[in-house]
Each structure stands twice: as C-alpha cells, then as structure tokens.
Symmetry: C3
Subunit: 111 residues, 3 copies
Amino acid sequence: MKALFHVNELDRWAHALLNITNLLRDVGTGEVTVEVVANGPAVIAYRLGSDDALRQMDELHAKGVAFVACRNALQMQNIPEESLAPFVTVVPAGITEIVRKQAMGYAYIKP
Amino acid sequence: MKALFHVNELDRWAHALLNITNLLRDVGTGEVTVEVVANGPAVIAYRLGSDDALRQMDELHAKGVAFVACRNALQMQNIPEESLAPFVTVVPAGITEIVRKQAMGYAYIKP
Amino acid sequence: MKALFHVNELDRWAHALLNITNLLRDVGTGEVTVEVVANGPAVIAYRLGSDDALRQMDELHAKGVAFVACRNALQMQNIPEESLAPFVTVVPAGITEIVRKQAMGYAYIKP
C-alpha cells in the first residue's frame, strides 16, 4: 500500500497526522509507504521551534513516514531551508511531486 | 466507472450528496459504483435523527451508493455504532479504506 | 504527466492557479497535460468581467491548460453559458469528468 497525503492549510495538520497515525496502527508499520507533501502556508509547520505538531511528525518519521516541503511555498512564506526540521525533504515544486507519486501508484488523500 | 467520495467536514455533506446525485443522473445508476467514506467530524451526519441529509443518503443508498464510517472517528465523536443509520457500514480506519479503494481503481473526489 | 485540478470553492482559485503555474515552470510546458474542473460556486470565476483571475487563466490556457465548467453548477449559480470566458469548456457534470480523467491516468489534486 502506498499513500500520499496533501496538506496545504496550516489548520489541517492535526487531522492529517491523526489520519496517518490511524492508518499505520490499522495496517501495521511496514505494510504501507506514506509520504506527506506540504505546500502553501502548511509548510510553516515544518519550521523548527514551531509547536508540538513537529514532535508528532518526528515520531511518524521514525516509523518511516516521509515529510516533503515545496520550495516555492517556503520562498513565499520567507522560510529559509536551514530553519526546517532535519527530517524534512525539500522538492522544487510540491505539485510535481504529488503528480509523480500518483503516477507511481500512490493513493491521494486530502485531509 | 468507480468513484470514492471522501467527506471529513460536516459542512461538506450537502455539496457531496449533490455531486453524487448529479453523477448518477449524468451516467445512469448502474453505470457507476459509488462509495462515500466519512471520517473526522463528518461521521456525525450518520447518526439517526440528525437531519434531512440522512433522508437523502437513504435515497442514494437505495440506488446502490455505499456509506462508510471510520470507527476511529466515531469513537472520537462519542457516537455508539448502534445509533447510526442502518445503511452505514463501519470500517476500522477510514483512511485505509480510501487507500485500498484507490488501489482497486476508484477515482478519488474530495467535495 | 497528466494532472487534474478540482476547484469547488471560489477562494481556492488563487492557490490553484499558482499551483499550476509552478507545475508548468517546474516540468516545462508540453511535458504535462493539465485540466481544471470547476464545480460548485467556483464556476463564478469563469464569468467574463469578474476579475484578474480570468487574465491568469487566459495565460495558462495559452500554454495548453484546459478549463472546464460543470453545467449543473452554472445552472445553480444562474450563470448563462454565453457569459463565460471563451476558453471555458462546459460539461454536463463536473464529477463525471473528474472520474473519467482519473480513469485515464490523470493525477487528482485538490488545491
């Protein structure tokens, strides 16, 4: 199983992280490949020191969940890449990543 | 044709049910398999006695539309399964259902 | 690459058009087929004379992006088809278009 979560609003993170936690518990870590792509203002949550969403992401990352940020969005939000949590991967355009992953068989989920 | 509708906010039900009604009218009942997966606060609408969204769901269910609730969401909303409309099916995790159905070729729609 | 953008709320157009602009710049025009399907109140943005979102759509259309409106939504919003921008294509039901395009391998994105 492969699942891509698309988060583009800051206030959807809590719901998204709960969805992923439930998915991993339901099917078992290792049974599903999970990637989260954030663009728009949602990338703000990746900034070190922001809040406890980051701690929850860190725990999910330790279970294999990939967290991706859109570079265009980081620039629009004036967030330097050095200020991001170390587990975050930056791609040139979040939408390209979303399109490519769906072409590779990932299911799309918009929490 | 196979279509999966994902509803996770209570105020998106009216739009979702209208989308499904239009889809069935456009392609013809029997030409498309439709499933609705509700998680988050959207599961509240499945509770018996809630309002007339339930009557509209009942009519769509009679035309073959499947209505699914996420058990995690029901527990978070303190909704006992016995209080749900009889046409609702409960799954352990709504997100797992969404991922599985997309892997089976269902189109994903977030109304 | 093939990508379908679903816009059903008027206030999501700015984000959607920015997503498409970034996608085309990232992968290059001609490397991706892009279609936008609008239903619900989002179809209001297609009306001639509305605002500068239309100018941005016109530029994207010149680069090959298809803009589609749902006829059911136009009727609900009392928008005659003659009042739409000339680059807009009308389909009987937007949701049917979304389901068909995903079956043809388009990735789904909800901005």
